[in-house]
């Protein structure tokens, strides 16, 4: 009797193990699938031209085939773009996050009739294909609001090249088109917030501004982290606006993705090692953000 029970337990154990092995096996295969393009990219970026052609793409090259020169070239070419990207991505992220929070406050925690209609317009703004605004956008900055001209005194007095006006254009553009997403992210957070404290403060005669400063803003800190991470990734990674507003990768104000998109291709063929090194250089800021705050990034994309 007892041996029988033992046996069936052992059977079950074996069964469970078998199932677990299959489960973890699948998970690891998936891991390989998701990491393969990144892994082959890393090893290739350290290879010489001949090693790229002669060694297996997923194995690192040793000795003769190993080189840092591709990384040197990539960083040389892209460092200008790295700084440009930071120069508009950081202010645009901070601004759109802060404005989104204030907007969501006015549309969620303050009660007035008709706010759902305004909100609907914000939500719809998330889903717009940007192609539908590109021609007016380029004419708006290129013909009607020429920051290179209208801010002439600024460029003249500081001695900064007029080309950098594109960075201001990119900042404003990214803030305007990022606002819907930021507002909705904050709104979903504010909807679940308890309004008791705010109502009490209101009864005591506090203005809406005071309530935001003293109660809502301090409580929003976790959401600010989520929004900033999401926005920074989006703005840093965006090519379309950079392409339309800066137009040439040789411009001194070219963002990093714009320079990268033309890197390593010449008449002789594609220099894959250089491309991989460049791709990683451009990805490093978002990768750092992702590795440090991955859970917050997941939260941002899930909501």
């Amino acid at each position: 009797m007892s041996t029988k029970t033992n046996k069936s337990t052992a059977d079950r154990l074996f069964e469970v193990d078998y199932y677990r092995v299959a489960l973890y096996g699948t998970l690891v295969v998936m891991l390989a699938f998701f990491l393969a393009p990144i892994e082959t990219g890393i090893v290739t970026s350290f290879k010489t031209q001949t090693a790229v052609a002669e060694t297996l793409p997923f194995l690192p090259a040793g000795g003769e085939g190993f080189t840092l020169s591709k990384w040197n070239t990539a960083i040389d070419v892209l460092s200008r773009g790295l700084l440009n990207s930071l120069a508009f991505a950081v202010p645009a992220t901070l601004l759109s996050g802060l404005l989104g929070s204030i907007t969501a406050y006015g549309l969620t925690l303050v009660n007035w009739r008709g706010q759902v209609a305004v909100l609907t317009l914000f939500v719809a703004g998330i889903f717009i294909p940007y192609q539908a605004v590109l021609v007016p956008l380029s004419k708006f900055w290129g013909v009607y609001v020429q920051l290179g001209k209208s801010l002439g005194f600024f460029w003249a007095t500081t001695g900064i090249s007029k080309d950098y006006a594109a960075l201001i254009e990119l900042t404003v553009t990214h803030v305007a088109y990022g606002l819907p997403m930021c507002t909705i992210l904050f709104r979903s957070y504010y909807k679940s917030m308890s309004t008791e404290m705010m109502e009490a403060a209101r009864l005591d005669g506090a203005t809406l501004r005071k309530i935001y400063q003293r109660i809502v803003f301090p409580l929003s800190k976790p959401m600010f982290a989520v929004v900033f991470i999401y926005q920074f990734t989006q703005i840093w990674n965006d090519l379309l606006f950079a392409l339309i507003l800066v137009s040439s990768s040789s411009s001194p104000a070219a963002p990093i993705v714009l320079i990268l998109s033309g890197l390593g291709s010449s008449m002789e063929g594609t220099d894959f090692a250089l491309r991989m090194a460049g791709a990683f250089t451009a990805a490093i800021p978002t990768l750092i953000v992702y590795i440090l705050f991955g859970d917050k990034f997941a939260k941002g994309v899930a909501s």
Binding site: L35, T120, D295
Partner: protein
């Protein structure tokens, strides 16, 4: 007209049970807020009072918070869409500074709809949207179910599955160009194991769209996994237990009991995936570093940008953009309406 608007908004605002409705709000506030509101009524004219009556007591004080950003966003989003439509009715092209608005017609639309290149782009756009969304959903759901089976190192698996999404299209396009490389790419080595290939995935017009979709699935199935995972965690454990007591196999349990409960997650994830798919422009542009994507992968987004910014057919590009916008609206519109009706905004 205004009355009907008012009843609609009232129903919407008042319909939210978890918040005090506008009317009861007034009642609550009579105690403490009466002095202030009397003072305000006294100092302001009848118009302000009417506005307050219509939109609620806090309306005016709330405008500085949302109105400036709303105007900025509206100018850039809705103003541009309207302007884009207007430009699409003109014959604007070349180096002219401004379109000539005196002669408006739908000529550009006729030209676009009858153009074979645009028709191909429409077909490709649909194929990309549908295939990408369906495969991403299915793959992401499988990943979510696997990760949800009480595994160890769950966080590590999840983080790595989601990792590609944090990368730019420009970066992932470089990776996949190398992966698909006919002479030395991993994908061709994989097929080589089975004695197949090598295939020129990017150069072959019949393969390129599938190759692009596969790369995009790689980048975004982590996203669907995260969405499904959140939804799976919300299902009470009793549902799993009840199915197991009934003797259902694991596969049957998921198919009959669990998957149907993921409907809402599926809807919202597919809407977001379609938005990502519409942004595939960045990926296609970066594959070649050029306005003309690989042969066989031209979608409306790439066609529009090429016509406008390379060929400077501004009006024609605008017309294609309107077609793309209509396509997006046909997908997003019903979703937004549904959310609006169920007060999920």
């Amino acid at each position: 007209m205004f009355d009907s608007f008012r009843t609609v908004t009232r129903q919407l605002v008042g319909g939210e049970d978890h918040r005090t409705s506008a009317d009861s709000d007034d009642e609550i506030r009579t105690d403490g807020g009466v002095a202030e509101s009397r003072r305000r009524t006294g100092s302001s004219g009848g118009v302000l009072k009417a506005v307050r009556d219509r939109f609620g007591e806090d309306f005016l004080e709330s405008t500085p918070f949302w109105l400036p950003t709303f105007l900025l966003m509206s100018l850039f989003v809705y103003g541009s869409i309207g302007w884009n439509f207007l430009i699409s009715l003109t014959d604007f092209e070349g180096f002219a500074q401004e379109p000539d608005y005196s002669n408006l017609d739908f000529e550009m639309y006729v030209q676009a709809v009858t153009s074979e290149a645009v028709q191909t782009a429409v077909v490709n756009t649909f194929a990309l949207l549908v295939a990408f969304t369906v495969v991403c959903l299915a793959f992401g759901m499988v990943l979510a179910i696997l990760v949800d089976r009480g595994i160890r190192f769950e966080n590590t698996f999840r983080t790595i599955y989601l990792l590609p999404m944090s990368l730019s299209f420009v970066v992932t396009a470089q990776f996949w160009l190398w992966m698909y490389n006919p002479t030395n790419g991993i994908v061709n080595m994989f097929f080589g194991v089975f004695g197949l290939g090598p295939y020129d995935f990017i150069g072959n017009p019949n393969l390129v769209l599938a190759a692009v979709i596969f790369a995009l699935v790689w980048q975004f199935s982590g996203y669907t996994m995260v969405v499904y995972l959140a939804s799976l965690r919300a299902i009470p454990t009793e549902h799993y237990e009840a199915a197991q007591v009934d003797g259902a196999s694991t596969v049957k349990m998921y198919w009959r009991v669990i998957v149907p409960q993921l409907k809402n997650a599926t809807i919202s994830a597919s809407v977001v995936l379609m938005v990502f798919a519409l942004k595939a422009f960045d990926f296609l542009y970066s594959l070649v570093g050029n306005f003309r994507p690989p042969n066989g992968s031209d979608i409306l987004a790439t066609k529009m940008v090429r016509e406008a910014f390379q060929n400077q057919n501004w009006a024609y590009g605008s017309a294609i953009a309107v077609l793309l916008f209509a396509l997006a609206l046909a997908i997003i519109g019903p979703y937004l309406f549904h959310q609006y009706k169920h007060d999920n905004l």
